[in-house]
Symmetry: C2
DNA sequence: GGGTCTTTGTCCTGTGAGTGGCGAAAGTTT
DNA sequence: AAACTTTCGCCACTCACAGGACAAAGACCC
């Protein structure tokens, strides 16, 4: 099998990223954007066509003279993204511009171990392949719900992924699919997704806070993921909120997650149901046997005061931590994502209120705090972006 | 007057930074480090000699054949650094390798306003000039104790610098000295100083926490200062520690600075003196009229339990904030600096204890937390480094 | 419909930067 | 003193790139 094509120099890489992010362009327009002579541009484009990465696509409208030829990424380019969550697998296939062509998802407990879960993910990919969506895979991005050694392409001592520690995910999937593979933390991928297709498109430095089973933060510095020296940057779930807070699974008291992680939310909701503070939640508890964030969202949307109160308090705690991080990091945007983003504007309003009150004024002067609009797609788009940045690069 | 020389391409810039950081090198050794053919290396070095930035310096020891010619930065290169503190001015002159050749310091209240303070700084520079230390100034780095718009080269709404808001420091000094000038926050410059000459030389991502009149943090990402979108990154003095804490000048309660800034330390020390809890501090208070961090350090060194207790509690609060930042940022090193670094190992031990206990294990796995060893020089070395990075670059 | 102007794409040649070989110079080792 | 090693200047050869000339394609004017 032929190795998938890669750009041969920085100019080709630049052109590929341009076509990916800005869409098809006429040769004339490309000439104005990149700083290359007409001859060299033509040569590089010809080479990209030869590599099968780029192709002509008709003629552009005239700008007063001869019509210029439009150039686009080959429609046969395919990136694959696996978004392994704590309780779900998402698999998607995108074209070269990272538009999602197919997306399947199924519940899956990550605690079943690396082999089982990855096999399941490959099965799902097979479904998409059967639909004829995938002539060839040019790269695969994988997100996992825990800390990752990006260099090694494997999880390292992940707290909620037994059986995954130092499992060579990148190399195993690379072997299987015969394409470049990169592995990263799932929150980082969501941040990349927002950078590519979401509200962060024009922002260089921002934070994405994901509140779900756990609470994590993707950090983007200068348009790239910041991972820290051991790949655990953004691990904000166990930042201390209050010494007198509830005990956390990590052994300390008063962690953010102990206040507002998935388990904490269920705990508080069930307490409100049992104490009689919330008839709505009591009803939902009886119907489902247990409660989760979604039930709280439902109850709050129906006007249940206890549910609203739970969300408010959670938002306040998230806001307290976030206020400190905003003062420290001075981001240009903060995005709130994860299952809990369904809690909507009650949550957002509370977070905003705390952050705007407690962060340094210069840092909040022009700081939007918004809910993610990508829903489930952020992770897989981010995975595609991760590997596409790699494939569309030249070192 | 001729414009000071600058490198003409990236190779020359690389060579200059190499000679600055690694010291004089033989042409043969340089050839092994940079990826250039012998001929091109010779050409670029010749041009640098022509520009007056580099010169030959005899022959290296033989490595088994003909001896290679040693090359070094011109000994006539000079960088100037102004470190404007809240209550002091430091002015230093360095050679091309950022070795401090002359350093003068005097007390000066920054609240006298930009014109007065900068004139004073220029006077001090005049002293050094009179000593014949400065044939020509190739660049000047300036640190000020407040937020800076790096792009504009001026302070922006600095809380403790009345009369400095949007004063064009960079352009004014550039006009005066006729050389490139950059202005940055003083904490950022200390971080750069540590990066160049301190304990962070081999670390790409680290934090420098300065505890003095205020509390701030320099953030280094990938070997460069991270400033955030509005230049206020690292402003950690008003991160919330405890809702029930003392009121802060900023209007909120329980800020880190309200627990352990310069004013808070004096307040607690004087309270301990007056309450009779500390005879040592009472004595010092009587002798000096008021107390500061240094007095607490003196008393603690002499074994005064109340002073030690003050330091311990301060360290705990700093540690609580820092633990969160470490989890978030996952640095490779944390340096504690500022006047309070004189509090020494009592402080350090307490900070370490809290951070190692409360941060994510992966982030603290191999995280040194150390006291700065550069004392007063960090700021000026950082200033020289800032402008030298700029002058020794080619865009 | 024809002529003129504008824009785009291709071809081609001149230029200039950079590579690498060769040999002299300068040391070391035997 | 001879043989080997390393360094460095010189030089010719290569190759990539810029930019002009020209052809193709279309707009606009009369």
């Amino acid at each position: 099998m032929r190795m998938t094509a890669r750009p041969q120099n920085v100019h080709q890489a630049r052109l590929l990223r341009l076509l990916r992010d800005e869409g098809p362009r006429s040769r004339a327009e490309l000439g104005e954007v990149v700083r290359l002579s007409r001859s060299k541009l033509a040569v590089e484009l010809d080479r990209l066509v030869e590599l099968g990465l780029v192709e002509g696509a008709g003629l552009a409208a005239s700008r007063g003279g001869r019509r210029s030829g439009i150039v686009r990424l080959s429609p046969r380019l395919r990136f694959v993204a696996f978004d392994i969550g704590a309780t779900s697998i998402d698999v998607a296939v995108t074209d070269g511009a990272l538009e999602v062509l197919g997306h399947v998802s199924e519940p899956c407990d990550v605690r079943q171990g690396a082999t089982v879960v990855l096999d399941r993910a490959l099965d799902l990919l097979g479904k998409l392949r059967d639909e004829g969506l995938i002539p060839q895979v040019h790269g695969t991005g994988i997100g996992v719900p825990g800390p990752v050694s990006f260099r090694d392409g494997m999880p390292v001592v992940p707290p909620i992924m037994p059986g995954w520690d130092r499992f060579p995910v990148r190399d195993a999937i690379g072997q299987e699919l015969g394409c470049p593979v990169l592995v990263d933390n799932d929150v980082n991928l969501m941040a990349l997704g927002e950078l590519h297709a979401g509200l962060a498109r024009s922002v260089d430095d921002f934070l994405l806070v994901k509140i779900g089973t756990g609470i994590g933060c993707g950090i983007v510095v200068d348009g790239a993921i910041y991972r820290g020296v051991s790949g655990s940057a953004g691990d904000i779930g166990h930042i201390r909120v209050d010494d007198d807070g509830p005990m956390c699974a990590c052994g300390n008291a008063g962690c953010l997650e102990a206040f507002f992680g998935g388990a904490a939310l269920a705990r508080d909701a069930e307490a409100a149901a049992r104490s009689g503070a919330s008839p709505q939640l009591a009803q939902l508890l009886e119907a489902h046997g247990r409660l989760s964030g979604e039930h709280v969202a439902t109850a709050a949307a129906a006007g249940d005061p206890a549910a609203v109160q739970i969300i408010r308090e959670g938002g306040r705690h998230v806001g307290q931590v976030l206020a400190g991080l905003v003062s420290f990091f001075n981001p240009g945007l903060v995005i709130i994502a994860g299952g809990v983003a369904g809690l909507g504007h009650t949550l957002l309003a509370e977070i905003r209120s705390v952050v705007y009150r407690r962060s340094a004024p210069l840092a909040t002067g022009n700081l939007p705090i918004v809910l993610s609009e990508l829903a489930g797609a952020a992770g897989v788009v981010g995975g595609a972006r991760l590997i596409s940045d790699h494939v569309f690069s030249y070192s």
